[in-house]
Symmetry: C2
Subunit: 140 residues, 2 copies
DNA sequence: TTTACTGCAAACTGTTTGCAGTAAA
DNA sequence: TTTACTGCAAACAGTTTGCAGTAAA
């Protein structure tokens, strides 16, 4: 819990219990992409009662503090993951909803050159591939 | 109006006035990416009163009939464009909200190979670049 | 002790839906 | 004349917000 406290203070946030718990959950589930609802449910399952509105606030603050990244793989729900050092994009299995991360420098470079061709400067991008993953295609 | 009527019947939809008007609007604004709200407003401006709920229904039916494509460039709102023959992706200017379409076979191919490497089969993808367009970067 | 933060409930936004009436075939 | 469609109002889902009370510094 000291680590979480330090991380929070480092980005200028009071080390409150809700924030510590959310951060702890994200840390212990690295690589997962969780919605606010899921964070809420997981915390409650482990006996920690944090209000859903607070979770939304905390996740948004974490995003602003660049501790987490927000993604929207489907039309309705945002998911959050701990921010990693390297940029990566995502594949989402439409059957099992597993998320696979990948990095591809060539695509990144191509993007830049396309933008440049049009006189545009990229400020952000999202690239999501909706797939049927190996496991799902095997089990029919 | 005969053209619209025929197009609608071709995909098995009754040629009703709301549908004809929405299709007409999309046809006369090819290349535009309009939200349901914008469709609603534009129709009303030209003196055609169609209920917003109907516009949502019609656009969804058009999507199912593959007459239009739905995109979500921001978290909250869907936009629609007439379906073209070729696949393309989008750049959206974060300042003026202009949408620029582009096609890049190399990226498409790279996507496929990345998916394959992971044993995945792509069923869909979205690739959006958020940019500052030429005009916007010029006028500071 | 001060001020940022949380819980609660209510609001909000884009979108969908049930139902009774209307228009296309 | 039948049946699909529309308008209306209410519901919906995820998310945000105002406010009064609570806890971190």
């Amino acid at each position: 819990m000291q680590y979480e406290t330090d991380e929070l203070k480092k980005v200028g946030l009071k080390a409150t219990l809700p924030r510590i718990h959310v951060l702890q959950l994200l840390l212990s589930n690295e690589g997962e992409h969780m919605s606010a609802e899921v964070v809420y449910r997981k915390l409650h399952e482990s006996g920690v009662d944090v209000n859903l509105a607070t979770i939304y606030r905390v996740l948004t603050q974490f995003e602003e503090a660049e501790l987490v990244e927000r993604h929207q793989f489907d039309a309705t729900t945002s998911v959050f993951e701990l921010k990693q050092d390297d940029h990566h994009d995502h594949m989402v299995c439409v059957r099992c909803h597993q998320v696979i991360e990948y990095v591809n420098a060539e695509i990144e470079a191509l993007q830049e050159s396309i933008a440049k061709q049009h006189g545009c400067e990229i400020v952000d991008h999202k690239h999501v591939m909706y797939v049927i993953c190996h496991e799902c295609s095997v089990k029919k």
